[in-house]
């Protein structure tokens, strides 16, 4: 469904903004803005503030996650930062350090 894949061997340092879904398998440092779904896969490293639609994390994130929808931290995820979303799940095996703001 998503046409944008940032592959495992790739490092982006800077600002990424997209009006479509993104799959991250590589490394992003800087800022990440996605209008649609974002998947941070196992092995991916994101050192950035993230603003997106639904976010699924199985990789490593250092930075704040803000979602207009939901955030799912899956088994193997490692997140250091604050999470802001309307719904959040933290799976068994996910590591998370930070605050959760569910905007209630």
């Amino acid at each position: 469904m998503t046409s944008t894949v940032i592959g495992a061997g790739i490092t982006i340092e800077g600002e990424v903004s997209a009006d479509e879904g993104i799959v991250v398998q590589g490394t992003i440092r800087g800022k990440l803005q996605v209008r649609d779904g974002l998947a941070i896969e196992a092995g991916a490293v994101v050192e950035a503030d993230v603003d997106a639609g639904p976010i699924r994390v199985a990789g490593q994130v250092t930075g704040n996650l803000t979602s207009s929808d939901r955030v799912d931290l899956e088994n193997g995820a490692r997140v250091v930062g604050n999470v802001k979303a309307t719904r959040i799940t933290i799976a068994d095996g996910a590591q998370f350090k930070g605050n959760v703001d569910m905007d209630v």
């Binding site: 998503t2 046409s3 944008t4 894949v5 940032i6 592959g7 495992a8 061997g9 790739i10 490092t11 982006i12 340092e13 800077g14 600002e15 990424v16 903004s17 997209a18 009006d19 479509e20 993104i22 398998q25 590589g26 800087g30 209008r35």
Partner: protein, 122 residues
């Protein structure tokens, strides 16, 4: 979408400002502002725009690129491609219809009949 070969595709609606580096191949369909250093091939698709210095193995320009290209292998500016800047590569192809403005530095040996021409500069 083979899993082993690491290809990165930045879709039409993706904008990047910054540096990109890596091992695999990269296809840009959206817009890019910043330098690219790759061990694989770089492709700027038709409709895509970039302002960058591209260092890669092979480079295909089918979109609009402003900047420079340094390639170990072949550089192709396709019929839909527009390029402004300098190119250094082992082999360069500019297709019919392509727009090219800049310097071209391809490493090749001149045929002997040209080598012996007296019209040497300097």
């Amino acid at each position: 979408m083979a899993n082993g070969s690491s290809e990165t595709v930045l879709g039409k609606n993706v904008r990047i400002r910054g540096r990109i580096s890596g091992d695999g191949d990269l296809v840009v369909q959206g817009s890019l502002e910043g330098d690219v250093t790759l061990r694989g091939d770089f492709t700027l698709d038709e409709g895509a725009e970039a302002t960058s210095t591209i260092t890669a193995r092979g480079v295909v320009v089918a979109g609009a690129l402003e900047g420079a290209i340094v390639a170990d292998a072949e550089v192709t500016v396709t019929s839909s491609g527009r390029f402004r800047g300098d190119v250094r590569a082992a082999q360069v192809t500019i297709e019919d219809g392509a727009v090219f403005a800049g310097r071209l530095d391809a490493e090749f040996d001149l045929p002997p009949e040209l080598m012996s021409e007296p019209g040497k500069r300097r």
